[in-house]
Subunit: 630 residues, 2 copies
């Protein structure tokens, strides 16, 4: 494709992953950041006549450097929103570049989180209640002392209105929890204001949002306004920094994922310019989604797209800003997770800071489905983003159990970093891991360890199969299904759902099943035996019915009731009382798409054959009397 | 992870993808190749004190340059096997580097394809018959004239023994079909020898292998000898250059894939040193696999692993040569394909040579699941590898229909290049595609076009579901299943398989089903109705049974025969004569793993609900008499 040159303000890890995607499309990138060896510059050699790379050495906040970069490229974009939006508008007005993405006014709007909220609220998008704390237009605040006292008064007043705790936020320069202050009572107003710029920066307050979970959606927007959302994901923060991301989002409420995508698309559609945006939301206990904030660029919560989506967020950013067709945002794997590798200590205080920080990366090399991204940062500071690990798998349960190994390594390394301990040699160098039997063995052992479970081992937190029955009197028949699923290492749950006594529960169970990640439901029922059919009527998943034999009619009543479904709603019916076969059928359903279950089922069938062969041999050798010896 | 420096001989596209993988693990790479802007050098800036990148400018065949590179790195590897193996052994002996991977003797062995065959045959690996043509030890051939005439005589003699045609090959410096000559008769012996070095290079001959398909397996080998194969793939060559690759390999014979992997692992285990090897094989009509040749490095047939496998061949090569744990070689998506972007014309003869060559890449941007890799090569020569496109999808059928769009674009571009036509503007610049409605529309239209089908539309070449029945008398009942599958756009096949009249066919059908890519089988049967259960006994896939109503017993005989399977082998039974539900169940089974089918099923269920709502309304408005109006 024709060489077009893109300039990027910033050359950190986001720029690095952007450069990686751009190179694959023969798109040349020039970077503005300090030094020769910023993460993105390392993987982008742009030799000039003197053999030096033609990136620009300087701050992305320096107006002169921005103009210099602009004059050498066709399109400008950013990897961080804390840039000089005025200067970006100026290079556009001066026609130094063809385009700046996202548009400078969009960047300016998003930079000021209060104005961002005003904008989103004006478009009717859902937000937690918010209000400016102190002067709304800081440029009119004559001095910071005056602003300070106005802010303190405002915080106390807002507390009256919103109640405490309330979230006080700096309007600008806030990220990764910096610039936030949880005000627990009116007494803390002055301390909070002092912590957040002491009258020198604008503030706003948000009503406390006791969210259930945090959700994020990456959205790519073309220059012509087309928007495409990636699947909604769950984000887990620790100390206000993104810790892990899980894709896709799983909820009991089947509509949440689609609602989150719709809100994100609507929000991004309101902004000008092209590119990728990250929309962070709170999922409230009542199912409501509130936008927390928006980033006008690829985002930490979208790293997983490199390995797990048809097109990565970085490639879609490249495509969007160059006016290329947007790529598919669909997941290409059933389940994915991402965990950040954050600095555990400062290099100048602990020689082993980097090595300790990278322990999860070293351990991840032994875990299937993981891809390690290190950012090439030399030094290490506590909390600094040094890399991330993406984990993909055929199910949530598999991804969680893989993640578990990496998290255990992280916990161990964190403990070491905090206690100043010496790193065991098998964890320092990846080269050593392979040669050190004990380290390898422990990782392999961990790899097969089950993920944390709740007390009962028939209630996996990320089940693929649900076993339900109308009454605990069906349990003796249905337990055989649970035994088979356990034998095949299938994560499952088992519960009582009665069509006639708990119709609401049945409805909820059936409707939420796909959103919770289930792939098949086994329902046992006797007599009128409505449960399998009624569940099948309320979910698009395959439902397997087990006719349970009652005290009359030998189970034929249950069989006919389960199998003779009307056209349109099938139930996969197995033999009377044969829940073993129901579980085997569920595993065959999993095997249809997951080769590992196909292998297991083939082995199981071979074992059955061998067992019968054994009996044939005994019969031949010992005569039919052998059956009496048992 | 600790910075260890790897040196690579060669900086073309293989080196480029190696560098990409290395960067993610913070592994520094120094490259030896001519110029500053070789593909791999572009994405690897290694600034020295003077700001210039510290790669080495020179030929990877130059002994001095190899020594220079060796003295600056810890480990040496190659991206091409046509290197100076003697010199590599020397830098190892001189302890300029810790390791060279693969080992120089391995490289030397593989460089000489005849010695490669002798080695593999000595290890008992399957090969087509071969024999040296002319002097076996060329160093002892005193002059080339003498060698030439010995070769010509040998070719005629070998023809007597192997028959014509036979394949005459240059022992060294052969790749992409260069160095091969198909000798059709004894008359051609002298022309063939003239074409292959005219006595200056050693030759050998192979018995003609009328293979059915070509198969390749990438294998990664650790320094300690552990070998892990990627799934076997099908490779399609055009003009002796790799054209497309399909993963995984699909065959009617269910054992081929595993056998191919086993042979490849055994072959690679015989070589010294660590790294990735590509094993190319012929699949013969009788199911036999013959090794064709082995490449001691990442290979074109493994490009697909970047998007489709847990760990790419490039990352596994990095890991292997550094002694890191090997990564999982499993596919993470159900199906993948790769198509090469080869130069269609020479830049010096056609200004638009590059643009025409990149047409498939431009078009691929609009096709979901595709990832385009361009290698950053400036000029273009006919047949030069300029990039490749990987396509992933939820099924073979989906991948083939996506590939079809790209292949159509390639055909169009090839025609243009051959006829010297002017490229239509909408295909020249990717930026224009998005803005040009007609181009976008045509691509989108193509995206929904079905892949090529055989005459009957119930016989898709890449089916996900098979519908079978014991007799054509069951067709009236079973056609409803076909109609539903068509409505849901499920690729399927429909045929007659009788348990009692064609037991061998039934066995073959059931056993081959997973290897052919099927995910569910619908079997209809009446009376004794053994087909569903007997098929289920011979495949690990889910089998759905449709009891067909006979002339007596109202179908209860069929129902009981199908549903009352013994413990161990389940059949998912649906209502009597209800093949509609069988198809809907098959789609639910696909939906368990593929969200697009889940969406379709949910919509179908909503439509059913709306249809009934419509009737409710008519009943309320028109009274029950409305049913008489139909």
């Amino acid at each position: 494709m024709e060489q077009r040159v893109v300039g990027v303000l910033g050359a950190g890890q986001l720029g690095r992953m952007f450069v990686e995607a751009a190179a694959r499309l023969n798109v040349q990138v020039k970077l503005l950041d300090v030094g020769d060896t910023a993460p993105a510059k390392q993987i982008n050699y742009l030799p000039g006549p003197d053999g030096k790379s033609q990136h620009i050495d300087g701050s992305f906040a320096d107006p002169e450097k921005i103009r210099q970069l602009a004059s050498q490229v066709d399109v400008l974009t950013i990897e961080i929103e804390h840039v000089d939006a005025t200067q970006l508008q100026k290079v556009l007005d001066d026609k130094l570049v063809d385009a700046v993405h996202p548009l400078p006014p969009t960047i300016a709007l998003i930079q000021d989180k209060y104005l961002q909220k005003v904008h989103l609220a004006g478009k009717g998008l859902p937000l937690a209640e918010y209000v400016a704390a102190g002067p709304e237009d800081m440029s009119k605040a004559t001095d910071s002392e005056q602003a300070r006292s106005a802010q303190i008064t405002a915080v106390a007043d807002i507390g009256e209105k919103f109640g405490f705790p309330l979230m006080l936020k700096s309007r600008t320069q806030a990220y990764d929890g910096k610039g936030n202050y949880v005000v627990k009572s009116a007494d803390q107003a002055s301390a909070a204001v002092a912590a957040l710029g002491d009258g020198k920066r604008g503030l706003y307050a948000e009503k406390w949002a006791p969210f259930e979970r945090e959700v994020a959606v990456m959205v790519v927007r073309s220059a012509t306004g087309e928007v495409r959302a990636y699947p909604a994901v769950e984000t887990v923060h620790k100390n206000s920094i993104c810790h892990t991301v899980f894709a896709p989002l799983r909820t009991a409420d089947p509509g949440v994922e689609a609602r989150a995508r719709k809100i994100a698309e609507e929000a991004v559609a309101t902004f000008g310019g092209a590119g990728v945006f990250g929309v962070e939301m709170f999922l409230m206990p009542d199912g409501e989604l509130l936008i927390n904030e928006i980033a006008p660029r690829p985002h930490n919560s979208g790293h997983y797209t490199i390995e797990a989506a048809d097109t990565s967020q970085y490639e879609n950013h490249v495509r969007a800003i160059l006016g290329l067709p947007l790529g598919s945002t669909a997941l290409k794997v059933p389940s994915a997770a991402m965990i950040n590798i954050l600095g555990l200590a400062d290099s100048d205080k602990d020689d082993e800071a980097v090595a300790k920080t990278l322990v999860p990366a070293v351990v991840s090399l032994d875990v299937p489905g993981t891809t390690c991204h290190l950012y090439g940062k030399a030094g290490c500071r506590k909390g600094r983003k040094m890399g991330h690990i993406t984990i993909v798998g055929q199910s949530d349960a598999q991804v969680r159990s893989r993640l578990h190994i990496v998290e255990e390594a992280l916990d161990k390394a964190t403990e070491l970093a905090e206690q100043g301990g010496k790193l065991p040699s098998e964890l320092t160098l990846p080269g050593v891991v392979a040669q050190n039997a004990s380290a390898s063995a422990s990782a392999s052992k961990a790899a097969s360890a089950p993920s944390p479970k709740s007390a009962a081992d028939f209630s996996h937190p990320q089940p693929l199969v649900g076993i339900i029955m109308g009454s605990d009197s069906d349990l003796p028949v249905m337990m055989a299904a649970a035994e088979i699923l356990k034998k095949f290492d299938v994560p499952f749950e088992l519960s009582i759902v009665s069509a006639h006594r708990t119709p609401d529960r049945m409805r909820t169970y059936a409707r939420s099943a796909p959103a919770r990640g289930l792939r098949a439901i086994i329902a046992g029922a006797g007599g009128a035996a409505h449960l399998p059919g009624m569940v099948a009527a309320q979910t698009a998943l395959p439902v397997i019915g087990v006719p349970v034999k009652g005290s009359t009619l030998d189970g034929v009543d249950s069989l006919h009731s389960i199998v003779q479904m009307p056209r349109g709603i099938p139930v996969a019916t197995v033999a009377i009382n044969n829940s073993t076969n129901a579980a085997l059928l569920a595993i065959r359903i999993l095997a249809a798409a997951d080769p590992s279950y196909l292998d297991k089922m083939q082995k199981y069938m071979e074992e059955m054959e061998n067992e019968v062969n054994g009996k044939i041999e005994r019969l031949a050798n010992e005569g039919w009397e052998y059956t009496l010896k048992k």
